[in-house]
Every structure is written in C-alpha cells, then in structure tokens.
Amino acid sequence: MALERERLAERAMHRLAEGELLELYRLMTLIRRFEDKVAEMYTRGKITGFCHLYAGEEAIAVGAIHGLYDKDYVVSTYREHGHCLAKGASPRAVMAELFGKATGISKGRGGSMHLFDPVLRFMGGYAIVGGGLPIATGLALSIAYKEDPEVVCCFFGDGALPQGAFHESLNMASLWKLPVIFVCENNFYGMGTLVQNAICQEELYRFADPYKIPGVRVDGMDVIEVYAAVSEAAARAREGKGPSLIEAITYRFRGHSMSDPAEYRSKREERIWQERDPIKRFRNLLLHERRIAPAVLDKIDQEEAAVVDDAVKFADESPEPPLSELTKNVYVED
C-alpha cells in the first residue's frame, strides 16, 4: 500500500503547477510562523487560556484543504489555528481572536479553541474530544439532503478514536453514504498517553474496515501525500460513494498545550521527528526536484513573517468587546 500511495503522491506532485506548489509552501510557512509567534505572545501574557499549537503538523491541514474546493466545509478541534488559516482565514482575524479582541474571527468570545467562519465554511473548532465528528456527519447529511456538490473534511486527533462519537459517526456516515472525509491526525499522543496505551488497534486506519469504508494511512509530514489522499476521498464523496477515513502520521513539535513541557517523551524522539520537518522537507523537494530558486522561497519566508507581525500589531491595537455586550447572542433575537 505504501508504494501505491507514493506513486499516487508522485503523480499528484507532477499534476500541481508551480504556483500551487508555492502556495502550499507559503501556507505551511505562514502556519509555522504564526504558531511560533503565538507561543511568544502567550509567554508575554497577550494570549491566555488553553492554547494548542500545530507546529509540525502543517502538512496535514495544508495538504488536505488543498484537496478540497473553496465551498467545501471543514470541521476541526481545539488544535485548529492551522486548519483555519489553511481554509483562508485572515491571520489578523485569527490572531485577534487569540487576543480576545472584538475584531477576532469569533468576536473575542471563542478564543484559541473556538475559531469559526461561516463564509469560509470553517465550521468551528470544538474542544470536546470527538465532538466534531457528529457535527461533520450532520453537515454532510445537510449536503446530501440538499443534493449539493460539497464535501466535509473533519479533522481530529488519535485521542478521539476511543470515543463513542467516532464509531457512531463512521457507522452513520457509511450507512447513509454521506460526503465526509474523516482525517485522523495521529501524532502518537493524546495529552501524555501514547496511542498504544489508549487504543487496542494501533493501525488506526483499520477502523475503517468494520464500517465498510476506505481507510488509508499517509505520511502526514508529506504535504503532497496528504493532498493526494484527500483529493481522492473528496472525489469519491462527491460521486455519492460515501465517507473515507484517512490516518495521517505526524508529530507535534511542542507540548500538548502551552502549559505542557512534554516531559513524557524523550529528546531523542523529538529530534528524530524534527528531522522530518514537513516544511524543510517540502522546501528541499522544491529546490531539488522542481528546481525552484532558493531566493523565491526565501522571499516567501520573509513575506509570511511580515504577515504575522502585521497580524500581531492588528490584534494588539484592536478594541476589546464592550462589557455591555456580555449577554448579546445567547439567543438569535438579542
């Protein structure tokens, strides 16, 4: 299966125009810079609450969402800055949300774990493990019901597999042939618990079998491989053939959240994964296989650093939501 997957990825790579490849590089770079800056702002007390960073996992959000159309939907977890940016959110609006400002993507009410933008069809970050899967299933039901052409892409961690919601969602989506792609980001840990101490079947993609849907495992540090798998699953879903399960193997470069020093894993293990950095790897590929000039990529790096600095400035200067609006929006008529 690994070989076939690689061939699929290679074909996809050649299918993608240079502009698209650079866009993938740009988005991954944006997310990394964004997350690094978020960590800095958190340390400086500008961002508070729970904050889970996506550094190391960028290839999944960027590759997967590139395999969708703009009108397709995305559902995510509390570790969703990357998915939201990849779906096209303005870094200003996301940063302002983390700062709790009125200009934030959820008007300062949600924070890091609850980004939302209906125009972008980014249908929310949910902080209850497994909580997003039934929502994605229901969105897919609405699409099938209206006979619309869209699909839903639902991201969740390995920690969600032992939840009833995972199994109930896969069963229902398969039974009703709903257009949803379940993307499991397997970074080997829940908080501090290893996958093998939480799940009896470590090959998570095999959970597709009992639900009679396709299940594949991809290298989540390879943006093209993720892209290829999701495009295929999306095409299948659009043809009315139902859901797929994609397990993307990855690693989070930082602790579970900003308050976790990740003492449960070894420095050696971290180094091994750092060497598989999805951005460095993709950069090398662009330089050596597509003969893109280093200056082109360096320029993108600088541009995205500037975009992130601008987002921080915007967030910092934005107003707080007024206290008079505390009870606004509890109900629609407010």
């Binding site: 508070t48 609450g49 729970f50 949300e97 709790g100 400002k101 959820s106 300062g108 009410r109 949600g110 924070g111 890091s112 774990m113 609850h114 949910y126 902080a127 209850i128 493990v129 497994g130 909580g131 920690g159 969600a160 032992p162 939840q163 009833g164 829940g190 908080m191 501090g192 618990t193 101490n197 939480a198 799940i199 449960y264 707080e320 939501p321 206290l323 609006e325 505390l326 009870t327 509890v330």
Partner: protein, 324 residues
C-alpha cells in the same frame, strides 16, 4: 496539622485510602504517568502501580460505566473526569445507572463509586471548559454531590466519600487547587456529608455558599464588616445531602439571606436553597432572598467579559446591601 494545598490534601486522602483499603483504585484520563491534568494524582502510579492507578482511553461514558460496574463488583473505584465538562459525555451512566441502580433494583445493588471532577471558570478557557454543573447532579436523586471549599474539607470529605456506600459526584474547583490550609494529618480525619460549616458568625445577614464562592463570600463579609454589617457565612460542603437546618437556623437569627454560587443563575443550586428558605422561614424574613451567580451566558473567552460573567465579592456586597 500541616499547611498544605487543596491539591495536596486530595492527594493525601487518596494515598491514605489506597493504603487502607485494597478495594480502592483510581482510573481516568492521564491520572497515571501524567499525574492528572491538575496533578491531583501526582506520584500515585509510582507508589501504587498500574493496577491501582489506571490510565484510560478518552472514553468518558465507559470510564464512568466501568466504574459503576466495578463498584457493583465489590470494588471502590475513584473515577477522575478530567473536568466536569466531560461529565456530559458520561451523564447517561451517571444519571441512568449510578444514581438509579440501588433504588430500581429494590435496594439490592450498591454503587460506592466516587466520581471526582474539577469544575469552574476564571481561566479564560472558553465556553466548553468553564462550567459549574453541580445543579445537573443535584437535580437527580440517588447520587451525592460534594463541593469542598477548603483544603481540610477536600481531604476529610474525599475520605468520607470512600467510606460511605452511595455514588458521589465530588466536585473540586479549579481555582482552589493551589489554596493552602491547615489539614489534619490523622488518617482517620473524616468530614461527614450533610453538615454545613458556619465559617463566620454574624447577626445581620446570612450568606450561604459552597466551593470557591465561599471565599468570595468571606471577602465580601470583611468589606461589609467595615460598613457596619455583620454577616454570617455558611459553607454547605455538600448539596446532596443538603444541610438546610443550619441555614434555616441562621436565617431565623438574621432575617436576611443571600445565596452565592458559580453555576448559572437560572435553575442553579441557589434556586433550590432559596425555595427551602422560603418554605421553612418565610415569616422570619425581612427581605426577599437574593442570589449571586454566574450570568446566564456561555462563558466568553475575553478576559473582561469573563470577569463580568462570574460572581464577585463586589456583587455579594451589593446583594447584601439590597436586603439590608
């Protein structure tokens, strides 16, 4: 006596009970090698091993359900839910099994299960991670609801929970874990359920509270003292059983009552307490009972909005001023 934190007091209670009774074991998410999300079970797996301190998958419904089964099988499980917000995934097993088994099986079943869960807001964790849900469990007959406010009570009540026979929701407040207090080192230190604690005697007004807002109430009482109002502060300690007797006795003396809690205002424990006061002491009251609670909104992330949504000592002072 030793000056230790609420967190350490809970840890001590667990150690003592693990030592005392082989049937006691702990299970929950990240309770073992991670030491618990709030470090309450820190060091326990090293001392007691994986059989007594069990890391589980993220499967709240089945963690609680398995706790019920293990309790029916003769053990004394302490199930930790990482936070109360996730109890909602397990509410079926809590309400439909744990709380029902004894009664619906004609008094023949026993579910001595302790479900520990941190709750409360104030840390900008947003709408899904800041709730105080004691009223959900208070509503349901068949399960005890403990809400300790001090380090000593945290220890004595948890130990008591492990020695009585009914299922217990043991609700800790996230903001109290670092709070220090004098705690008896005695391995037999037990704080029985259903006995409220009068923390401050006063003659002008009765402030009834539990969990974290007990401390807000004590702060308010200090401010009130400077204003010439002498407040009595009662910590209920448990909501089920509810020691309404101590409250009524106090209200008969002061003729005024304010109920303070962190759950949402509407349908909260305060409504139940106020009703009981009206039922038993209507003629003794000089003013309507006031409630100070969280605003009826999902918790906003923004710092200022969150502070405005939560009850505060200032609001308690104002509520007292309304009844004086």
């Amino acid at each position: 006596m030793a000056l230790i934190t609420y967190r350490e007091a809970l840890n001590q209670a667990l150690r003592e009970e693990l030592d005392r009774d082989e049937r006691v074991f702990i299970m929950g998410e990240e309770v073992g090698y991670f030491g618990g999300a709030f470090k309450v079970t820190d060091g326990l797996i090293a001392a007691y091993g994986e059989k007594r301190v069990r890391d589980t998958p993220i499967s709240e419904l089945t963690i609680v359900g398995a706790g019920v089964g293990a309790a029916m099988g003769g053990l004394r499980p302490v199930v930790e839910l990482m936070t109360i917000n996730f109890a909602l995934l397990a509410i079926d097993q809590i309400v439909n099994t744990a709380a029902k088994a004894r009664y619906m099986f004609g008094g023949q079943a026993k579910v001595p299960l302790v479900i520990r869960a941190p709750q409360g807001g104030g840390h900008q964790l947003g709408a899904q991670h800041s709730q105080s849900l004691e009223a959900y469990f208070l509503h349901c007959p068949g399960i005890r609801v403990a809400v300790p406010a001090t380090a000593a009570d945290a220890k004595g009540m948890l130990k008591y929970a492990l020695r009585q026979e009914d299922p217990v929701m043991f609700l800790e407040h996230e903001s109290l874990y670092g709070l220090k207090g004098e705690v008896p080192e005695d391995g037999e230190y037990l704080v029985p359920f259903g006995k409220a604690n009068v923390l401050r005697e006063g003659k002008d007004v009765t402030i009834v509270s539990y969990s974290k807002t007990v401390h807000d109430s004590l702060k308010a009482a200090e401010t009130l003292e400077n204003q010439g109002t002498d407040a009595e502060v009662i910590d209920l300690r448990t909501l089920n059983p509810l020691d309404i007797g101590t409250v009524i006795q106090s209200v008969k003396k002061t003729a005024r009552a304010v109920v303070v809690y962190e759950g949402w205002l509407t349908g909260g424990a305060g409504a139940e307490i106020a009703s009981r006061i009206y039922e038993a002491a209507f003629d003794d009251l000089d003013a309507p009972v006031q409630r100070v609670a969280s605003a009826d909104v999902p918790m906003p992330y923004n710092r200022h909005l969150e502070a405005a949504a939560l009850p505060s000592p200032g609001q308690i002072v104002q509520a007292v001023e309304r009844v004086m």
